[in-house]
Symmetry: C2
Subunit: 108 residues, 2 copies
DNA sequence: AATAATAGTTACTTTATGTAAGTAAGTGTA
DNA sequence: TACACTTACTTACATAAAGTAACTATTATT
């Protein structure tokens, strides 16, 4: 299986957003710049995978990585313009989830 | 890593949409009811994974499965109301991809 | 020197996905 | 009757991605 008929730009966007954790990380950063450990605990992701995702997202121009040379060193991640432009998508997902996901169907 | 602080309904919606292939399958069905093999070739997904996804989506009330007892038997998949209500999300992704994904960055 | 804190990385296990071949049911063909 | 054909899957096996827990580097404090 390989060649699809769907627009490759759309497919690219989908493959970005359907990487596990990616949308949640971006959603979290919509609240403002955050450090590694903050994202990790608020999203509930392992350090290893978060590290991978942040590298990917930085490389794709969706987030910025800023080193704050205090002690201990802190790294602040924030959305770029491209990253912030994903907000409408995430808001639509938020809206949809409020309408269509019943609380009793949410597994914990 | 486990407990996140993000709304569980939103998380559920994200976990649905970030299953690999799921969004593309739904996007494809926005064009109207389609058979297994049509989805398979238009999305470019293996039969095995498509089969898994369709079962999941049916169970979550997002698609309908209709057996057409011709010969050979055909199965028609279509979106339910819940499934169709995902359209605004996919249209936002489509819009975003047109603005922010450069054609030269689309790998083939 | 030992301890602490942040942001990772590494080694290893488990889960998800890909690939290719195989199955079931119904029809048509030799 | 036997065999091939079509659709919609399933199965067995291989590879890739994610989870877990322990470990590292850096700088500072006790």
């Amino acid at each position: 299986m390989e060649k699809s008929v769907i627009c490759p730009r759309f497919e690219k966007a989908i493959s970005l957003l359907s990487q596990r954790w990616t949308a949640l990380v971006i959603y979290q950063l919509l609240q403002g710049p955050q450090r590694f450990s903050e994202i990790q605990t608020s999203v509930g992701i392992s350090g290893k995978v978060l590290s991978d995702r942040l590298k990917d997202l930085e490389q794709q121009g969706i987030i910025n990585r800023k080193v704050i040379p205090e002690t201990p060193v802190m790294i602040e991640y924030s959305l770029t313009e491209k990253g912030a432009s994903l907000e409408p998508i995430l808001r639509e997902i938020e809206k949809w989830s409020q309408c269509w996901i019943l609380p009793e169907n949410v597994e914990n």
